[in-house]
Symmetry: C2
Subunit: 271 residues, 2 copies
DNA sequence: GCAAAAGTGTTTAATTTACACCCATGC
DNA sequence: GCATGGGTGTAAATTAAACACTTTTGC
């Protein structure tokens, strides 16, 4: 993910590198047509026990009036020394711009690359290749979000009513722009897979949470209920692994008050 | 993955679409700098019970003389109606060009997108965003491969000697160009994960094969031996699922002849 | 006969699933 | 006291792991 570097070498190697440096100084890129590259964001959250996705209403052609995923162009420099921003950085920046979240709050937002979509014709204006990301936003941040300063411009939509093929056919109204339905599908599939392989579930609950708050998240994402007892057992195992720790206090509920836990911020390691 | 289409609509909808058509006719893209987009291929095979990857020796700057992953530019049209080739198509084309395989034989090669790499500076010449794919090539096709018509130009290298961090530090000689070591790591990780989640294992054995030939593939990819009895049991379960069927004949071995099986070409379905 | 690998079976442990039941609290 | 959901335990079922043993061939 970082710039390729070579060790300063022996005499022969150094000569090679001088040679390469001269080559680079004289290098002029060709004039072949290039695509535009964008990042598209599938921003998930769980509120009211339902999985939701952030969509923006297109105010311009093409697909004027349709819902679309937030996103935008990756900033590219025209100097070979200043080549612009990283893809992850572009995704973060777009998230900031589209949600109005501050730099510090959005730093805590989980972002993961999904896949790249580049079929010719997916944007009728020109060739656009789009790197898709999904993001997970804690429900506690939702009130802070003001989509680009324009409330009517963006909304949280129910994934269940959007992602099922049946619902999609029925709902002409919510047909997405471009190939964004495909992107949403891919993001949802990857996010679901990641949910029961890693600990991203904690990215969708407040900093401290009860077991059933976490279970509600899993149920919302999977779209089916989970056995409370069994879920609890699996959860408690992750305490042994040091991923979780008990937090102070209790959370009052409709019945017996529940213990609260806290996610121990990990090393960002992943396969 | 296909072009976004809209249904021919009612009166209002049709008016909208006329409007959009006029917009597109008048559309002129901006003059912002754009990145080059390439596909890079991590081509795997298993020969002699070892996982190997196809690398090409760079004959030009930068990284002249180093091993690199095969790959090349995605062809992009400059007309909004003719936008060029799909990413998958570009990967297939590059595979053809770099291996010399015919269109028909390479059609049977498994290709899967890994991730997109776009860190600024990863190519010192200019901003290059690269969509990484991994490919699985049956050992029976290996003899047909002539890397770009130049034998000294390409070679199969042992992944075990390339991918382990220890080996990598020791082997200055085989340090890869650009960020291709990162790409190889990511491709290997995804391929390993796919191996015990899907049936891609069959892409690395001949059309008909024995159980231990398949086991040898799994062992090579995972880098550790597997219990023959247990592997057999898991394998036989996939007969029930209709993924496999018994083939005619036996394969002579060093000892008792082994039964051969055949992979039943499936629907390309995946979770 | 002997080595070597195919092929089969058994035993044990670990994990998942289903479900029963007690406990503390608000009302 | 009683409904509600928190919290705990257990038994059955499924899956995974370890390993012993029998069979069929080449030499």
């Amino acid at each position: 993910m970082k710039t390729a570097k070579r060790k300063p070498g022996s005499g022969e190697r150094a000569e090679q590198e001088d040679d390469e440096e001269r080559f680079l100084e004289g290098y002029r890129p060709g004039v072949y047509p290039r695509p535009s590259v964008t990042v598209d964001l599938v921003v998930f959250t769980v509120t009211d026990r339902r999985l939701q996705v952030l969509l923006v209403r297109r105010s311009e052609h093409p697909f004027k009036g349709r819902w679309a995923l937030p996103g935008g162009f990756v900033r590219v420099g025209d100097d070979r020394k200043a080549q612009g921003e990283d893809l992850d950085a572009a995704a973060h920046r777009e998230l900031l711009e589209e949600t109005g979240l501050s730099h510090t709050t959005s730093a805590g937002v989980f972002l993961e690359q999904v896949r790249t979509f580049g079929a010719p014709g997916r944007d009728p204006r020109m060739r656009v290749i789009s790197v898709a990301y999904y993001a997970l936003v804690r429900p506690t941040l939702i009130p802070l979000i003001r989509a680009g300063g324009d409330a009517s411009h963006a909304a949280w939509l129910d994934v269940a009513e959007l992602a099922s093929p049946a619902a999609r056919r029925a709902a002409e109204r919510t047909e997405l722009a471009f190939d964004h339905a495909d992107i949403l599908d891919a993001a949802l599939a990857k996010m679901r897979a990641d949910l029961d392989r890693t600990s991203i579930g904690f990215e969708l609950v407040p900093e401290s949470f009860t077991i059933q708050e976490l279970r509600a998240v899993h149920e919302a994402v999977r779209g089916e209920p989970l056995d409370p007892g069994n879920f609890r057992k699996r959860f408690l195992r992750s305490i042994e692994d040091g991923v979780i720790e008990a937090a102070r206090g209790k959370r009052p509920t409709a019945s017996k008050p529940a213990s609260v836990y806290r996610f121990v911020r990990p090393r960002r390691g992943d396969g």
